[in-house]
């Protein structure tokens, strides 16, 4: 069964492009990744599904019901965490969470406290005294306290420290095991690779590719920078290296292959510093989706 069905969804902001002819489905019980560079149309798609904005043409259904027409009813079972969180500043955390819970038909008190405890959230503080990371935690708790059947996350990890990110992903995975479907937008490939079953890739408002995560897992581009005085670039001429650039005391390249081989090659050299980074999605796109 499909939880989300999107059919030829198009949105223009005046003349500016939002999304063009987007179609895909999200199945029940899966964690579906939605990736693309900033400005590609991820948020536009999600905001349309929540009927925060209205499509120029096309339609979408959630739980088999039109997402505009039955919006309020559908949203009983949706938990949403936006990329930027803003709440009523003058409220205390607990009051905001209670206000949030008052919109749902069930009693959410127990789950609220459970989540707050996991996320180490102080319920007595005022919202405007919270740091960005803590506001984000409030966002996570208010998005999940009604145990939604569909969780929509719009770049949820920005502003969370790595430890909290891990806790957050644990919660999401647990919810997923309990049966919740997760729709997860991000511009960080590694994040999506770690969590999702299937992925849709959006670029300049259109879906470029819909893939099983296994296919995408084969792609492990790393961006490697090696610094040293006497580097021999020919030593790095192994399979999987691309766009090698040599400067005075530095060699930069992308690598997609067995990481042990690369470590060996670097180890054979006298280096001062090594930097192995996750390339940005734009950089991956340049190589993978030309």
């Amino acid at each position: 069964m499909n939880v989300i069905e999107i059919n030829n969804l198009t949105k223009y902001y005046g003349k500016a492009r939002g999304i063009i002819d987007v179609s895909f489905n999200v199945k029940e019980g899966e964690i579906f990744g939605f990736i693309g560079p900033n400005g590609a149309g991820k948020s536009t798609t999600i905001r349309t599904l929540l009927s925060l904005i209205f499509p120029t043409s096309g339609s979408a259904t959630i739980f088999g019901k039109d997402c505009i027409k039955y919006g309020p009813e559908i949203r009983q079972d949706i938990g949403y965490l936006p990329s930027e969180v803003f709440y009523y500043d003058k409220m205390k955390v607990i009051d905001l969470l209670k206000y949030s819970a008052s919109f749902y038909k069930k009693d959410c008190t127990k789950r609220t406290h459970e989540l707050a405890e996991i996320m180490e959230l102080d319920l007595k503080r005022r919202i405007d005294d919270l740091s960005y990371g803590n506001k984000k935690k409030v966002g996570i708790v208010q998005g999940l306290l009604h145990e939604p059947k569909l969780i929509m996350l719009d770049e949820p990890t920005s502003g969370l420290d790595p430890l909290m990110q891990q806790k957050f992903f644990d919660i999401i995975e647990k919810e997923n095991k309990k049966g919740a479907t997760v729709f997860f937008s991000s511009h960080i490939l590694a994040e999506v690779q770690a969590l999702c079953n299937r992925v849709a890739i959006i670029k300049e408002g259109s879906i470029v590719k819909l893939e099983d995560i296994k296919t995408l897992s084969a792609v492990h581009y790393k961006k490697i920078t090696v610094r040293g005085d006497k580097l021999d670039e020919s030593k790095f001429n192994i399979e999987g290296v691309s766009e090698l650039q040599k400067q005075a005391h530095e060699i930069k390249f992308y690598y997609n292959g067995d990481i042990n081989k690369m470590i060996g090659a670097i180890g054979a050299e006298t280096v001062q510093d090594v930097l192995i980074e996750e390339p940005s999605l734009e950089e991956i796109f340049m190589h993978y989706y030309k």
């Binding site: 929540l50 209205f54 919006g71 559908i74 949203r75 803003f86 500043d89 206000y99 949030s100 919109f103």
Partner: protein, 267 residues
Amino acid sequence: MNIFTYELKMYRNSIIIWSISIAGLLVLFMGIYPSMAADAALMDMILENYPEAMLKAFGMAGSLSLSSVLGYFTFTFAFVQLCLAMQSSYYGFHFLSVEERELTADFLMSKPVSRRRIIIAKFMAAFVSLLITNLCVWVGSFGSIMLFRDGHAFEPGNLIVLLSTIIIFQLFFLCIGMLVSVLVKKIRSVLAFSMALAFGLYILNALRGIIGGELLGIITPFYHFEASYIIEHGKYNMATASISIGIIIVSIVSSYLLYLKRNIHSL
């Protein structure tokens, strides 16, 4: 109901401050009345020597004497109206736009509520807040007159007619503010908008007083519900009042329809 309760709570301080200020204004002005009335003949003479244009601008050129209780109250009431206009338009410009300005719309609208419920709850909360202020103006008006009328008689019927126009007057500014807030993309400064609307229409009526004629008064409720006319005639001008009511209805209907279809943008 939860949105309504929350909103009303947010208005609490504002209602208290406005109500106390307006009631204070009434007491302060009416407090001077006894000494004014004592030298009634002198006061009327002073006023006669003022340039007529100025008297017209303040709506004091009519046959009402400043030495009568309601004549003096009329003069005071113009300021009360100005305050009410500012408060009402502030609420009007504020109550829908705040969610988008402070980016809390995402929170509210991703909850299982319809736009219809949101706009109705928010409108009712603003309206009830204005009703409470209204009530305080009634109490303040009667209270200050009773306290300071100094034995002078007055016609309570006329005063009741005057005070009963407040609610339409408030709605006018509330609804215009609401309409503008859904017509434009974003309202950055609610204060600037509400001052412009309240003072703009006040000045328009003052200008009308100086120039004469009705044309300038068509769109300003300061003219539709001019205190001196109501106190003098014991009723308000139905023709002009219905213009206000018409504008209110059109504003409510169009704001409602526009809000249902409004795109809520993120940061």
